[in-house]
Amino acid sequence: MRRALVALIAVLTALMAGCGGSSATNSSGGAAANGSLILATTTSTQDSGLLDDLLPVFTKDTGWTVKTLAVGSGQALELGRRGEADVLLVHSPAAEKAFMAEGKAGQRRLVMHNDFVIVGPADDPARIKGMDSVDAMKKIAAAPAVFISRGDDSGTNAKEKDIWAKAGITPKGAWYQATGQGMGATLRVADQKAGYTLSDRATYLAQRDTLKLQILSEGDPSLLNVYHVIEMTTKAGSRVQPDAAKAFADWIVSPAIQQRIGEFGKAKFGQPLFTPDAGKDEASLGG
């Protein structure tokens, strides 16, 4: 019996040693190149698969490894504000402008856009098909039909609130439900509850095969979804790495990567999921 205990302890010790050894090689592997940076971004860039496509190229090009935190835009900005992230890739323009005014961030540059769509069940109980976004939301509230909100202060959630405000409606009641989760999870809830929701087109297209939801309202200019990259500075926190932030921001607006963004999704979905916009005039996007 003693032998068994001794053996068990030996196994555990070996496991710990193995773990210590391999995690040490992991970190030194990163440091040997260029260290690692923290990118705070939105769930849509991860759920659509864009980051999986881009980040390995970034690491190969620059030597920086990336720790991606896929959260809502609101939380991403908060991580930036606290100095917990080096660079942000977000899509909540009004909140971003207020954030820039705080003076903790460096450069903010246009990266790309796609658009939001209102999706819902095929039988469309609120009869919104083909309407512009504000009229569609008015009809949903008047019906009332189930609407699933992100409710997480993400960029998508901010856009949704914006449309409700334009429609002059304060959404409230059993028909209006907030998930507090990412876009993928929220689409799934809307699908199961046969409700409507606002989604970015990329996440919806990436998951269309597993959903019964259909696009019912799209195309009006106020539904543009614009992404910016924001570099953080040491004003946000002494451990922020501005050089890493600049490396990432410079890289993502570079012509080769912009082209890659424009190609992403073509093979799989028959259409690109994002339109590259680096260097374009903000006003031309109306957002």
Binding site: A4, C19, S23, I38, L69, G184, A206, T210, G237
Partner: protein
């Protein structure tokens, strides 16, 4: 139902073809959870022994605290460790947040109370006069304690298994302190959550099956050791 059947079939195919990402996620999961369990045993067994055998003020309150700790919500531990490890936090300069090490710390925090409470319960079951008798027979204190631990080895193994089960299956702390970063801190539970939110159900189910399989394998190994001891006795 269809999805489930297809999911399981896809999962089997995915596992059979040996997808590299899937295996590295599985290896990382094992490494983190086993290390955390080992640390929990190193801390929890002495703490539990102290609680069971010690004669000091506040022992009952501490025992109650350890018992409460068995139900410690992983998100709470995760939040606590996150705040400690933030760049702006007290341990920020270590740069540990979003690393496997941070996950080991959090999971050890979850498992230690489990191990301590179950160890205390196991040792209290042994005849209270056991240590006294050993000492009377001339055993030194450490030897008497070692004999006591050996006497209670079966419930102690169960304590280790319970600790491992608690950490390998939790998602809250792993997500919060690890960040679910691909190739670095993505483990089976957080990978399953991500796959689900991406609509990749068969992948999610594959991760679920793997999680069950490794939990079973580890417990089977320990159980075999445990039962062999029972028979030999």
């Amino acid at each position: 139902m269809d999805v489930l059947v297809h999911g399981v079939l896809d999962a089997v195919r995915l596992l059979a073809t040996g997808d590299e990402d899937t295996w590295s996620i599985t290896a990382l999961t094992l490494r983190i959870s086993l290390t955390a369990t080992a640390i929990a045993l190193l801390l929890g067994v002495p703490a539990g022994a102290g609680l069971a055998l010690g004669r000091f003020r506040g022992r009952r309150i501490m025992l109650a605290a350890a018992n409460t700790g068995m139900g410690l919500p992983p998100v709470v531990v995760g939040l606590f460790v996150t705040v400690l490890l933030w760049r702006s936090g007290p341990l920020g300069e270590l740069g540990l947040l979003y690393t496997p090490t941070a996950m080991v710390i959090a999971q050890a925090g979850i498992a230690t109370p489990v191990v301590a409470a179950l160890t205390a319960a196991a040792l209290q079951q042994v005849d209270p006069d056991f240590v006294v008798q050993m000492r009377a027979l001339g055993a030194t204190r450490p030897r008497a304690l070692a004999a006591l631990l050996a006497e209670a080895r079966l419930p102690l193994l169960a304590a280790g298994m319970a600790g491992f089960g608690a950490v390998v299956s939790e998602v809250g702390a792993a997500q919060m302190v690890g960040g679910n970063i691909e190739g670095q801190t993505r483990v089976l539970t957080t990978a399953a959550v991500l796959a689900t939110s991406r609509g990749e159900f068969s992948l999610a189910i594959a991760f679920g099956i793997l999680l069950l399989a490794i939990a079973f394998a580890v417990n089977l190994a320990v159980t075999i050791v445990q039962q062999r001891q029972t028979v030999r006795r």
